[in-house]
Amino acid sequence: MRFIIQQTLNALQLGSVYALIALGYTMVYGILRMINFAHGDIFMVSTYLGFFVASFLLGWALHLPMAVIFVLTLLLAMFGTSLLAVFIERVAYKPLRQAPRISAVITALGVGLFLENFTLATIGPEPRILPQVVPVINFNIGGVAVSSIQILILAISALVMFILDTIVRRTMTGMAMRAISFDKTVVPLMGIPVDRIISITFALGSSMAAVGGVLYGIAYMMDPYMGIRIGWWAFISAVVGGIGNIRGAMIGGYILGFVEIFVAAFLPSTYRDFVAFALLLLLLVFKPTGILGMPVVEQKV
């Protein structure tokens, strides 16, 4: 029983990261009907951004309290990653909006490869860990080991996902995003600048990935290739949840976290990807639109 609870905690921790990244895939798909395959690498860049911001702030002789450094790291990583994602959309995807969808997808793959190799060339392949910005305190609750990092990851993920969900449901921008997702052609007639909403979507989605990136960096090692592996799992999370659906992406992220941790706990770790993808295929056979997904209605061009 303790083992199960322990693994559940680990699954929630990893699932939080997958959910945060999955949001970016699902939001961009929702309004552009495009899979942004560079998103995993944007997540990777955000982790490195967090690494440099935290290193810089710690090296700075101001002796800021750790909590301040952590919050600043998070915010600056979110900001920097948003700028990068909005820039990528402007220069790489926007010119292709009228082109066949495959062009944008291939471009996204190219952008991802660029980010990966750029990181590899400039920073190097060696794995790194975020400098310690969170005091590590280990609690033992009835034989289950819980660390302050684990609690922080779960709490911050839940908080930012709640904020995002509220933005999408309650604000004018969120309504505009949902309207674009339903029928992009009519949105300008409401006086809404569609391009600006698309930029905000990229900014929000990549900020979520950056939260995931910094949280990932305080718990696991980072390397330039992590964007591919983590990105794939997050993408599958979005598909499992029902791509285009925000709450679906959150649920999907936690499901994939559970699959990964529990498969690795009970089966040889080489089975992990095999079982996860087999489950995904099975789900898609019975529910092709994912758990919360709606049948895709093709938009009028």
Partner: protein, 241 residues
């Protein structure tokens, strides 16, 4: 700025193509402040294309569209709304996954006049009490007539001086068509200029003061609605003889 008798909207030699197909072959018409003007014509004559070109949704190949003294070609579609053109598009175009209220709210995206927005909600709900009853309902579950009311209500919420209406009678039972047209007249009397595109020439000619007949991308007949209703060609082609 405008001279007193300059038209609110002036379309001059407008040409629009879809690929190699000319949808509009140089049409010209005017709408004056306070008027209801109708464009009638068969399916595929270019009526919706005309409205879409005015709203900036499709590129203009040649000609000019002047609204309130401004050449609309210089503005992106969302800015054209801010200049004062509301557009209830073909097929209603409501956002089916949003609630009725959210649909109306979105139409105020560019507006900053909070008090006036509240008055306009009141006005829309007074014109269409059904929308108020259903304001928290998902818009996709509304009946066709209610969706049309929402489309008109949404156009009202952008508060244009000119309202473009694309086939508000489409797919509606005669009694609902009567209802919608009654409201359109009310909206017009309250000061909104209307450009109405219709296949239902009967109704359109009843409420409008002037009309233009569009046939395969060209205007073939124009005049006051009185004259049009008596025109033998219009009678035969659009009013059932």
């Amino acid at each position: 700025m405008m001279t007193p008798d300059a038209p609110l909207l002036s379309v001059q030699d407008l040409v629009v193509s879809y690929g190699n197909i000319k949808a509009l072959r140089g049409i010209s018409f005017e709408v004056h402040e306070g008027e209801i003007v109708t464009l009638i014509g068969a399916n595929g004559a270019g009526k919706s294309t005309t409205l879409r070109a005015i709203s900036g949704l499709i590129p203009i190949e040649d000609g000019r569209i002047i609204f309130d003294g401004k050449d609309l070609r210089a503005y992106p579609p969302h800015r054209i709304v801010e200049l004062g053109i509301s557009h209830a598009p073909e097929g209603r175009g409501i956002f089916g996954t949003l609630t009725v209220m959210e649909n109306l709210k979105l139409a105020t995206y560019a507006r900053r006049d909070k008090d006036e927005i509240q008055k306009d909600y009141r006005r829309v709900f007074d014109l269409f009490p059904r929308l108020e009853e259903r304001k928290n309902q998902i818009a996709g579950t509304l009946s066709g007539g209610e969706q049309q009311m929402l489309a008109v209500g949404r156009a009202l919420m952008t508060r244009g001086r000119l309202m473009l209406l694309d086939e508000p009678s489409m797919g509606l039972a005669p009694i609902l068509v009567q209802e919608i047209f009654r409201v359109l007249q009310e909206i017009n009397q309250a000061g909104t200029t209307i450009l109405l595109v219709e296949q239902n020439a009967h109704m359109a000619l009843q409420v409008a003061s002037r009309g233009y007949v569009l046939e395969t991308g060209s205007i073939t007949v124009q005049g006051t609605t009185q004259a049009l209703t008596k025109d033998p060609k219009v009678k035969e082609a659009y009013l059932g003889g």
